[in-house]
């Protein structure tokens, strides 16, 4: 009987294995997603901002990350640097020009594994109507059922750098730094 039970367990585990290796579709959890940026201000300090409205979809294959896919849409009007007047200015044609270009988008093109839980995610990033490749260094933090939501959840951190003038955002550069650091923290749920 004991042998039979072990056999059944092995069979069940074996049967489940191919399913676990399949890419799994997730939705970005906006409540646990932060897309932040750091920009140098005239050499005096670094200003930190974020985008408050982010949506996206992730197809994640933990067994073969190269098969994973990500697409993210950011509402440019949701830019927030904790200063209303500056945020108005950031929405103007000087910077994000939200009237003409309300969305920033990222669509993955290539994902390479660089370590046990790290990877390089390259995608097409579109801002101000200009699309350029952007590579993010991604750390896979954890997957499992969230004790809070009871949903299957995966979590990642990503870091990257872009040059805003590459996208036509030239005002104030280089005094307001051309190079923008990106800090992304996200959870996605099934």
């Amino acid at each position: 009987m004991k042998t039979f039970a072990v056999a059944v367990l092995f069979a069940a585990a074996f049967a489940a294995a191919p399913a676990m290796a399949e890419p799994v579709a997730y939705k970005i959890d906006p409540g646990h997603t932060s897309v932040a940026f750091i920009v140098n201000h005239l050499g005096f300090s670094n200003t930190i901002g974020r985008f408050n409205t982010v949506a996206g979809e992730l197809t994640f294959d933990q067994a073969d990350v190269a098969k994973s896919k990500l697409s993210v849409t950011i509402d440019a009007a949701g830019v927030d640097t904790n200063h209303a007047k500056r945020d108005e200015h950031l929405r103007s044609p000087d910077f994000f020009n939200v009237k003409e270009f309300p969305k920033l988008t990222f669509k993955s093109v290539k994902i390479e594994k660089t370590g046990d839980n790290t990877g390089a995610l390259t995608g097409d990033f579109t801002m101000l109507g200009v699309t350029k490749p952007l590579t993010l260094a991604v750390t896979f933090n954890k997957s499992g059922v969230s004790p809070a939501t009871k949903l299957e959840t995966v979590g990642f951190s990503a870091r990257g750098v872009l040059k805003r003038t590459d996208f036509g955002m030239k005002y104030g550069a280089p005094y307001i730094s051309d190079e923008i650091q990106l800090l992304i923290e996200t959870e996605a749920t099934k």
Partner: protein, 280 residues
Amino acid sequence: MNDLLADPFFQSGVAPLVLGAVLTGLARAGLGSRAAAGGVLLTFLAVYLWVIGVPALPPPAAMGKLFWAGVAVLILAAILDIGRPPAAVRGAALLTVMLAALYWIIGAAVSTPAEGLIALVAAVAVGLSVFPSTRVSENEPVVAAAPTFAWAAAVGGVALIGGSASIAQLGLALTAATGGFLLWNWPKPRYAWGASGRAAQGLVVLLGAVLALFSSAPAVALAPALLAPVFLRLAARLPLPNNALGRALRPATSFAFAVIPALASIGVALALTGGEASPY
């Protein structure tokens, strides 16, 4: 030196005033006195490149379109000033190109009745720029240029308070460049405010339309400045002596009258926004 060149107030004040005066002189020397106001347009383009950089071609955004529209009207106005076709042809050519530029720049942004009203007002203002009051002769350059100075000051001031730093800089640069043109023409008028001058005024309207439609600046604040030509007519009724002093005072008083509505625009913007500027 680098700090000075990067100073927004230098970029949009002293520098365009000097550039406006120098380029007006160069335009006069190279193209003749009727095209001297091309120096104002050239200064606008130079400050644009200085502050914002070379825009993409074709430009994806309204601000980039504004630059290339500026290049187009500079060339057209110079041709009109040099060639001197009949006045009706000059006006029709300039109006057609400026309205086409307006449509190109703001057309895609007009989707609500309020935005349509802004577009309509801008189109009328372009018309007033190209076909100013017949009582104002282009051979009275200070009087003819006064609305350009006033409107540019209003656009620059309103943008500075509540909208976009680059538009503020460009508006104030156009104000200063017009000032540079005026330095040649007061108290004694020397150069005509020809098609190039009218194109410069039309360019101010395009800049104001971009401010009104693409930034958070209160568009209504620009409305009082539109009355500058009316104030110009009021100034013309002032009883000034018909002698050398009177001839020197007439452009000065006209100019001062035209600026009053621009100051009102800035006052309205201050009242509506609280006056706080972006800390960048």
